[in-house]
Amino acid sequence: MADTLVKVENLSKNFDKLVVLHDVSVEVTRGENLVVFGKSGSGKSVLLKCIIGLMKPDSGTIYINSKNVLSLSLKELNEVRKNIGFLFQGAALYDSMTVRENLEFPLKRHFTEMTPSQIEEKVKYTLDLVSLEEAIDKMPSELSGGMKKRIGLARSIITDPALMLYDEPTTGLDPITTKEISELILNLQKKLNMTSIVVTHDLICAEIIADRAIFLRDAVVAFEGDIKELTKSDDPFLKNFFSHEIIKV
């Protein structure tokens, strides 16, 4: 328990009559990379959004750093959120701001004691981590899909979060960029000593990143364990899922 950073217990979420998550329990230890697999619409993103507090589950508990986030006030929840980074599927860059302003935004809000030169330095350092220093004055509309993901990643890690949540970080990218982004995520995780939960159905990404994987199916955790065990499972559904993934790759 002492080493557990995220603990989800018996989480359930329905949308009208559609059961998306039913009694899902997951634990993530500090420094671990957990990959959440599942078909589209299997509730992977819902799980992430419940953890960060964007959605309220119907039942269950979520502990982050031993705090039950579902019982916190918005102010307390925001304190917890300051320690979490979230990379959205479409990167969700603020399109009215330049890359520099996107990165400065959380710093200016939460680190009011930082001087402009310290902010500038931090922005440049973080852009260097994602190898996109030259994009500093570009608008999001001038960036490619892969560049947007990198900038989104830079914005998420600029506050040095202890936990990173990734929602489909490689969807829509070509295999080479997928590999680059996945390796970048892994390197950052090692460099910054972060814990990560990665939602994906991309096998290349999962194989690079995952320390452990779970598979969501029919609203429950159908599998939990090593990524190699998962891909070599005898379960006909998993076999079918991963054979398609491999063909796609």
Partner: protein, 268 residues
């Protein structure tokens, strides 16, 4: 709150319309209450309010200038033959300026402003909603309502009265241009007539109601954008319905405010 949508190949039923009406009314009321709560809590985001005021002012300056000039010109040209029939052309400057100050200036400016700004806010926030930018702000522990909505509503409330005074000035200038064309009159006489006709008391209720109109434009645009869903279709709907609803509310509130003004100042 999920509103039934009009989709190609499917017509909304009367039940859908009724549900939409009450859902919008409820949603807008809750949104207003949230604004009142958040508006008084720090941080006040003064820099962001100033930025929006400048943007909105620049964005609408051209169109309201043209509108103001045309109102003054047309109103004068239309009224001149009637006034001439009654031998009252000397009263033309007073009549036009009073109409512009009391009613046409505030209402027309507010309607133009609604068309230009409310749709813009609806589309901007709607697009931020469907591309998860608002969620991104929320997960970064930044209050998106405060940063995006409160600042825009305060900016629209502050800028519309300024624009209205400007439009009134331009419309009176337009009236003078029209008078030169249709009825020879000295500038001195025109100026004197206008100054004598308009009292400072005429400005107070008309400018005061533009604060309300500005609030309507900001809050409706923000509400429609903030609650947009369903991708680009949702953004389009947010933009369109913002204009329709805010224009309608401006006209409804105008009649209510005119009645209140006349009750409070019966001599006006």
């Amino acid at each position: 709150m999920n509103l039934p949508r009009h989709r190609y190949g499917r017509r909304l039923t009367y039940g859908d319309y009724l549900y939409n009406f009450f859902a919008t009314l409820t949603g807008l009321t809750i949104f207003n209450l949230e604004f009142l709560k958040q508006g008084f809590l720090p941080p006040y985001e003064i820099g962001e309010i100033k930025k929006h005021m400048t943007e909105l002012g620049v964005k609408t300056m051209g169109i309201v200038s043209i509108t103001g000039l045309i109102i003054g010109l047309v109103l004068t040209m239309q009224s001149q033959p009637v006034m001439q029939r009654f031998g009252a052309t000397d009263f033309l400057p007073a009549m036009v300026s009073l109409s512009v100050v009391r009613e046409l200036g505030p209402v027309i400016t507010a309607l133009i402003f609604a068309g230009r700004v409310s749709s813009g806010i609806g589309a901007e926030l709607g697009s931020m909603r469907v591309t998860e930018q608002i969620d991104a702000m929320e997960v970064s522990a930044i209050n998106p309502f405060k940063y995006l909505v409160v600042t825009r509503v305060i900016a629209t409330m502050m800028i519309l009265p300024i624009l209205t005074v400007y439009v009134i000035f331009i419309a009176i200038t337009g009236a003078y241009i029209a008078i030169i064309i249709v009825e020879p009159m000295s500038f001195q006489y025109f100026q004197q007539s206008v100054v004598q006709a308009i009292e400072f008391g005429d400005f107070i209720p008309s400018v005061a109601k533009t604060f309300v109109f500005g609030y309507i434009v900001g809050i409706v645009g923000s509400y429609k954008g903030y609650s947009a869903e369903g991708g680009t279709e949702g953004v389009g709907q947010a933009s369109t319905t913002s204009v329709v609803l805010s224009s309608l509310l401006i006209l409804i509130f105008d009649s209510v405010l005119v009645k209140i003004t006349l009750m409070l100042w019966p001599t006006l």
